[in-house]
Amino acid sequence: MTDLLDIRNLSIRFKGKRTVHAINDVSLSMKQGETLALLGESGSGKSVTLKALLGLLPPKRTEIKGAVHVNGTDVLSLSGKALQRYRGGEVSMVFQEPALALDPVYTVGHQIAEAVMRHKGLSKADAMSIALDMLDRVRIPSANRRLHNYPHELSGGMRQRVMIALALACRPRLLLADEPTTALDATVQVQILLLLRELQKEFGMGVIFVTHDIGVAVEISERVAVMYAGQIVEEGTTREIIRDGRHPYTQGLLAANLHDVARGERLTAIPGAPPALETRPEACSFAPRCPYAVAACRADLPPVICPSERRRVACLRAEAPMAAE
């Protein structure tokens, strides 16, 4: 069976007044039905990667190198009608802010039905009944009435459920979720996470879950890829990352977690800020903030070490499991 997703040596550069090397030599693969958390702080290139997967980056200002295949389709070469069929049909996306990602002047039912009509070629009435079914599946109470509501008439959690219903209506093989719980209340966040996990099992699709919250990543995904400065610095199963995170950045993220911190104790944080990415990185991007950095880290790109199958770490010191120093 072909891999669900295969990204090879993807580099993305934004041109304009300021050049930004947003993604630098990223490779990533996913099997059918896998859930992957893309973990990293703001500006690490998570969202840019997702947008590249949907061909949503403005072509005039972006320079994309490398290859992206979804179910064997060469995504970067798609255009016109083929790109429209692929977007929302093969791969779809749940956005961070459901309040902004839904059109305010159309009913939610119409917005779901619109996508169904386009992809399945159904009549308006049939598409509306699919929309109704989808609202039921995302556990929206009295879906029949909600179908004719406008986005502003729904709560934040309801809107995100609608967004999920919209994304899943055409049964995509891969769902991209761009921090889908960040804009929501804490209690609603958990509900949405559980919903996504259930729907993933129900529909059997692959999910890429972008988040900066390691707790969320653990909750939802089988595998984790940690991004820093437009690169994947570590990848592995969620268990491996939690138990045996080898990259100093991963360790920093784990240590910065708020759980198990006693009151009054100082919170652990990673010192410094991520680089501006105006030039292509020539050495380890994390070295300036890394407590273990040595001269070699600043001289050359770090080697990618593969301790086991589908597990890799881009760090000089990752050869052996790191003992606490």
Binding site: L54, L56, Q84, R85, Y86, R87, G88, G89, S92, M93, F95, E97, L100, A101, L102, D103, P104, V105, Y106, T107, E114, A115, R118, H119, Y150, H152, L166, A167, C170
Partner: protein, 317 residues
């Protein structure tokens, strides 16, 4: 929706009352005595006060207002001091002509303005946008009476293609739908359309440009919508605001075309108004202003209701 409509209609009543008071008082503030215009220079004081009494101008203002409004609701707007003809007939004839001119200008201006605005908003910050912006700034800034005169010089005087004056052959003010009459409409309507083209284009450009940067546009592309679909969504989002601007513009076209009607000798309300002002013809002046103002109120009502019908976020209860 029906209760909303009713509520809006009821709210119109106090506005209309306020408008009528202002129309009545404004004219009183204006300097000059209407009687001097029609009385012979050597009229005696008795003759003057007799005339004053005949027009009811000797009574206190509140009484004058009460009489005026009382007659008004019965459809009687009084008689013109200058011509002696009923004001209602004069005003409605003129307003009809003005409406014809205003609607023609709107029919020219709105589609062009919307199209240019959309184009500029979509192709923001490249030459198309700059060209449209230049055109709309020019449209808003050029004094349209000057433009009218220039067009007359070019198309009437030099080329001789179109007539320069009046609403019909031989100075007739009775409108008919035939080429002989429509030729007279072209120059004033085009001249009048220039300002609203600029204003509508600028409004639509700002709206479209703003809406296109919103997240939901990317979300629409992400679910596989075509460019035409996305533009349809953008248009629906822009419609409510664009409509209110166009409604107001139509009001301005009707009431604000005094200069153009004067340049082209168009027998409309602006023309009537300027004559009434120069002749201190109080009943005619009051009547004309009132009808124009009420038209504005009606325009606002229509725009509000249409907006509520298009944009679900506007309260309808």
């Amino acid at each position: 929706m029906l209760t909303y409509l009713l509520r809006r209609l009821i709210l119109v009543l106090p506005v209309a009352f306020g408008v009528s008071v202002i129309c009545f008082l404004l004219v009183q503030i204006a300097p000059g005595d209407p009687l001097t215009a029609i009385m012979p220079v050597d009229a005696t004081a008795e003759e003057q006060s007799a005339m004053r009494a005949a027009y009811g101008l000797d009574k206190p203002l509140p009484v004058q207002y009460a009489i005026w409004i009382g007659n008004l609701v019965q459809g009687d707007m009084g008689k013109s001091i200058a011509t002696g003809r009923p004001v209602a007939a004069e005003v409605f004839g003129a307003v009809q002509n003005s409406l014809l001119l205003a609607v023609s200008a709107a029919v020219i201006a709105f589609p062009i303005g919307i199209f240019l605005g959309f184009l500029a908003g979509y192709f923001r910050d490249i030459w198309i946008d700059r060209a449209v912006t230049a055109v709309s700034i020019a449209g808003v800034s050029v004094p349209n009476y000057w433009l009218g005169i220039v067009l007359v010089i070019i198309f009437s005087v030099n080329l001789g293609w179109l007539p320069s004056m009046g609403a019909g052959p031989g100075g007739s003010s009775e409108w008919q739908w035939n080429w002989l009459h429509m030729r007279h409409l072209i120059l004033p309507a085009v001249t009048l359309a220039v300002v609203p083209i600029g204003i509508v284009a600028r409004t639509v450009r700002a709206l479209a440009g703003d809406i296109l940067t919103q997240d939901f546009v990317q979300a629409l592309y992400a679910k596989g919508m075509s460019r035409a679909d996305v533009l349809r969504h953008v248009a629906r989002n822009a419609a409510a605001t664009a409509l209110s601007v166009m409604g107001l513009q139509l009001g301005y076209l009707l009431g604000g075309s005094i200069l153009i009607e004067t340049v082209f000798n168009w027998p409309g309300s602006g023309f009537l108004l300027s004559n009434a002002i120069f002749q201190r013809d109080l009943p005619l002046l009051q009547g004309t202003i009132l009808v124009l103002a009420l038209f504005f109120v009606a325009m606002n009502l229509i725009v509000d209701v249409a907006q509520a019908a298009i944009d679900p976020r506007i309260q309808r209860t």
